[in-house]
Symmetry: C2
Subunit: 334 residues, 2 copies
């Protein structure tokens, strides 16, 4: 039997030595890596999972190079009401309109210039967003990537979110920022895997989320490499477009990473993230799925899917569902 008195004494001496050598460390309480998350089942599941895949000797241990985490953006890392990239398209149409007098009488540009949201919503619901697509083309192609990046950055840093009255680059969800940092501190590589254009979020992914440009995965078209005024430039194109959404998200992730993420975050809206959450479950390694449910109209927004597809998939897959109302102590940093 162990002599507990001696071992208590030994522990006390050790602690004292430690406190003398490293007073600052010894005085510190363990730091909560997720202070904006309320204590509860989801927070506990996250920290338990991270501990289990990072503890050597644990049967669930995952080597650092295999620790890949991928997150949707709109509705997962920041709000998707409104969809920011579409806001950008409208903003640019207005900015570009003096050079395009014909837009005044030509839809969908006319609808944007006149603020005819009904026309655009109708297109989205009844016309597969074909008109919306024209807006994207007019504002996202035919220019050098440098020029595009400059325009996007100016928009994201200056235009304010209609509800939160903050520029978009300040509207990331604080609990998700903490989660990204927590994962990276545990040697995860963090990726963005979202439905918008790959170049769009690359402009601010590093400053906003700490995600490097090469780790942004999104929809894309094939660009070209051309000489413009003697300078070689990538010119944004529109051919062979790949929409990175829903069931094609696993395809885009595989194309880009070549491995299956062990941690994937998405959100409830149109079933757009079911694909990538399902994909991460096809991993033979331990894996974790996080689905964000928007149920906090006071602090953010509250909305549900017509068919409940994402919540149903979460139930049958055993995914962890975040209630923004219940699980997040705060939503934003401001």
């Amino acid at each position: 039997m162990k002599n507990t008195k001696t071992s208590h004494l030994r522990y006390a001496i050790l602690t004292l030595c430690f406190a003398i050598i490293f007073p600052a460390i010894a005085a510190k309480k363990p730091v909560d890596p997720l202070p904006s998350w309320n204590n509860g089942a989801v927070k506990l599941a996250i920290t338990k999972f991270v501990a289990s895949v990072t503890t050597k000797g644990n049967p669930d241990f995952v080597a650092p190079e295999e620790r890949i985490a991928a997150f949707d953006n709109d509705g997962t890392l920041w709000a998707e009401q409104p969809v920011v990239q579409l806001e950008y398209a409208s903003y640019q149409i207005k900015k570009m309109s003096p050079q395009h007098p014909e837009w005044k009488s030509q839809n969908p540009y006319k609808a944007v210039l006149e603020g005819d949201t009904e026309y655009l919503i109708n297109d989205y619901i009844n016309n597969h967003g074909k008109e919306m697509f024209k807006l994207i083309m007019a504002t996202h192609t035919g220019m050098s990537i440098q020029d595009y990046n400059k325009r996007v950055l100016e928009f994201l840093q200056t235009v304010k979110h209609p509800k939160f009255k903050q520029s978009y680059n300040n509207t990331a969800y604080q609990p998700m920022l903490e989660l990204l940092t927590y994962l990276r501190n545990n040697k995860f590589k963090t990726y963005l895997s979202y439905g918008g254009g790959v170049s769009f979020m690359r402009v601010i992914a590093m400053d906003t989320y700490g995600i490097v440009p090469e780790n942004v995965i999104g929809s894309f078209a094939i660009n070209s490499f051309e000489q413009v005024n003697g300078e070689w430039r990538i010119i944004k194109g529109s051919k062979n477009m790949f929409m990175h959404d829903g069931v094609t998200k696993p395809v885009g992730i595989e194309l880009r990473i070549g491995r299956i993420p062990i941690f994937v975050g998405g959100n409830v809206r149109s079933g757009g993230d079911i694909g990538q959450l399902t994909y991460s479950q096809s991993n033979e390694l331990p894996n974790f799925q996080l689905l964000i449910n928007h149920d906090d109209d006071a602090r953010e927004f509250s909305y549900a899917e017509k068919d409940n597809a994402s919540l149903n998939a979460a139930k049958s897959g055993g995914w962890h569902v975040v209630s923004m109302k219940r699980d997040w102590r705060r939503i934003f940093s401001f």
Copy 2:
């Protein structure tokens, strides 16, 4: 004016202290990071460049996250005589032929089964390789990525190179392996950027070159995500193929990385690497271009381009041309 005597003394004391505290380090001679490279202009240029971009305070200093290096594969990191992925296609056609009795009388399969290389070379020269493309389709699509990876690995680990009598996964150029390691030790991210299929080299890129799967860039087609016998799998497809070669290599790199590499390596053959070497020169950051010239028939192969396009581009761009004969002390590790 500085008192050099005092400063010499100070230096001597410091060195002595250092030697007492860290005797092993102090005793060591500086290690040559590129022992398989002969001393000469190219080796010197490489080490000078790396020192200049990694030395803080140097006007050419580049932050670690911007230190991106990309290398072609065939003819740059290992031999391209024969082209390994085409060897794989032939190998698989032969392996699959019992399940396809019709191939015996149907070209291009017949040509492969009968060893009719003239038919295939003629197709390559006069028919844009359209028949070759059928071989690639038959052996690279319609199966799960897991199944494909297993087949490729078996081929690369067992089939021997016709000249070197080594399995392909052992035939990397030793000087280039040292260069990759040297760059990574200096916090470069190393990428493969090659004309073959992205999935093919991913299978061995880590074990052969220390390049992680997510850093392999190549040609691709759009796959699908499907349920096979109850399991969700990525199925290799053939739609919307993107050929990552020549002038499209910058496009593929931009799509995948979103930044311009500061170090790019390619080789002389069909002008296939001029695009990515030119692209790296469009970087505003300091940048380096390495072009490998195959001029060593005894130890590897000797061949030239009909139009000399790559060497001409190297001359006008000031790129560093490796003569395998002159610059490499050894070619392989075996």
